[in-house]
């Protein structure tokens, strides 16, 4: 399997504070890569570098390279909206728009300029099926998205993302607002999605990283302390700092 994304010597400063220090990491295609580490270690910041969401924050400076299929996404002339269509994101809290189920899923298509109704309906159905919501919601496409239970809202956000046909899905603690059963459902969905998509997930929950990911990166204070196969990191960490975190000595 090849690398979908390669991160080389990535530095990130928020003003004077350095949040990422020369981070190197490969992300394999069609697999799940987990970023773990204690709060404030930079894992969400790193995730948000991959679709340049950090550009929206004042005072952020990025140095280094992030290659997506070999192309540096920080090179001058890169169309950021186009990049974000390829590298989509699922957020910590389910955040559907205050629109109907249908309009939520169709949002990205409308932004992309798709005008024909039949084609939109087709993609909305496919996306909802992809997020395992079609059976639940096919008769309620007009109902407000904010009235759905939280786990369905989160999967609706995933469907909304699938509709723009991304190649990479970034997930920023996607289950932290969900109960264990809903979490399980989203994890199962992730296992299904990785057949077609490259997934990077930030999680606080080490069991979750162990359950779903093939590769893990352990971060601490902006450093990528250790990266490797999840199985190795959890059973036989090379770095004593990883060992401390895995065994729950702190974090």
């Amino acid at each position: 399997m090849s690398n979908k994304i390669e991160i080389h010597k990535l530095d990130l400063h928020y003003g004077k504070f350095q949040a990422l220090k020369a981070v190197d990491m490969p992300i394999r295609e069609r697999s799940i890569t987990a970023l773990i580490g204690p709060s404030g270690c930079g894992k969400s910041t790193l995730l948000r570098c991959l679709n340049r969401m950090n550009d929206l924050i004042a005072g952020v400076k990025v140095k280094g390279r992030v290659l997506l299929d070999g192309q540096d996404i920080y090179a001058p002339g890169v169309e950021v909206p186009e990049l974000r269509k390829r590298v989509g994101m699922v957020f910590q809290r389910p955040n559907p728009f205050p629109l109907s189920v249908y309009d939520n899923v169709a949002y990205g298509l409308r932004v992309a300029g798709l005008r024909t109704r039949a084609r939109t309906a087709e993609i909305v159905e496919k996306s909802l099926k992809g997020a395992w919501l079609w059976e639940n919601l096919k008769d309620r496409l007009d109902s407000p998205a904010l009235e759905l239970p939280l786990d369905q809202q989160q999967r609706l956000c995933i469907a909304r993302l699938l509709a723009v046909e991304p190649e990479v899905i970034l997930m920023d603690e996607p289950c932290s607002a969900l109960d264990p059963i809903a979490t399980m459902k989203v994890e199962e969905l992730m296992m299904e999605l990785k057949k077609d998509y490259t997934i990077v997930i930030v999680t606080h929950n080490m069991q979750q990283a162990a359950r779903v990911s093939e590769y893990s990166g352990y971060m601490l204070l902006g450093d990528m302390v250790e990266f490797g196969l999840t199985a190795n990191i959890f059973t036989n960490p090379a770095d004593p700092r990883t060992q401390d975190y895995i065994t729950g000595r702190y974090g």
Partner: protein
């Protein structure tokens, strides 16, 4: 001696309740007073015929038309300028010295007495730009007068849109303009409409700024470059020059009903819009 909290609580509720009641009573009193004095004169004929004898007899049709046209011109000019400024200040700039100066300027503009706007409009539009006393001059002057209100209410409404909506929209590949159009403005619309309605109310009720810029012709305006008299100005002239107290109150009644009608329509439209979106 210490008063038990239960009693102070009760006293506070009582005082605030009375204050609310008093406010409401004043509003109801004013409306009833005007309607009681004015409604006997009001009829379809009063609404839809031309005034005669300087307004001593006859109806108020030209002033009704003048009011509507003047307000439409003012709102049509002030809304795109105001909402555009608000979008620029909130979405396209970061908080800086310049945005603070612009905001400070808008606040100062809001505090200027309307007669000053009238004077400015008279010198600038009527005289220098040679637009004469006209609906256009008056509408432009009123537009400047209501601009700060529209900017500030639109700004607050846009700021109140949760940031997560913008974030999601960007993450789906939308540009800032697409995000503004498809997410921010629809969510902020009720607040923006409120600002516009405040502007409409001020335009309809304005006299000082209008008399200097749109004049007080009682003829039916044929174009936007004609002079016109609004209902408020008509009321002012009828009452001040003692032409006809009855017709003055009749005009006032129509004014009050118009403003109530506009506010009710705006509220119900807004409620329907909000209900549709949630």
């Amino acid at each position: 001696m210490r008063i038990p909290p239960k009693h102070t609580q009760r006293a506070a509720v009582l005082v605030m309740g009375l204050a609310t009641l008093f406010t409401l009573a004043i509003l109801v009193f004013i409306i009833l007073f005007v309607l009681e004095k004015g409604l006997p004169v009001v009829s379809l004929k009063f609404l839809f015929t031309n005034p005669q004898d300087m307004g001593k007899s006859g109806g108020i049709l030209p002033t009704l038309v003048g009011t509507i046209l003047l307000t439409l011109v003012a709102v049509a000019i002030a809304t795109p300028l105001g909402v555009g400024t608000a979008i620029y200040l909130t979405e396209y700039t970061r908080e800086s010295r310049i945005t603070r100066i612009i905001r400070f300027g808008a606040d100062c503009l809001a505090g200027i007495p309307s007669i000053i706007f009238g004077l400015f409009g008279f010198i600038f539009f009527v005289t220098i730009l040679k637009m004469g006393w006209s609906i256009m001059s008056g509408g432009l002057t009123l537009a400047f007068m209501i601009l700060p209100t529209i900017i500030r209410t639109a700004e607050e409404a846009i700021k109140a849109v949760p940031n997560s909506y913008r974030e999601v929209s960007f993450s789906l590949g939308a540009t800032r303009w697409e995000t503004v159009q498809k997410v921010v403005l629809p969510s902020a619309l009720p607040g923006i409409v409120t600002g516009i309605m405040l502007g409409v109310g001020r335009s309809i009720g304005e006299t000082a700024a209008v008399i200097f810029t749109a004049g007080s012709s009682l003829r039916m305006p044929a174009s936007l470059m004609d002079s016109a008299r609004t209902m408020s100005v008509h009321f002012y002239i009828l009452a001040r020059e003692g032409i006809s107290t009855e017709n003055a109150y009749g005009t006032a009644a129509i004014l009050v009903i118009t403003i109530l009608f506009i506010n009710l329509t705006a509220y119900s439209l807004m409620n329907r819009f909000v209900a549709k979106n949630n």
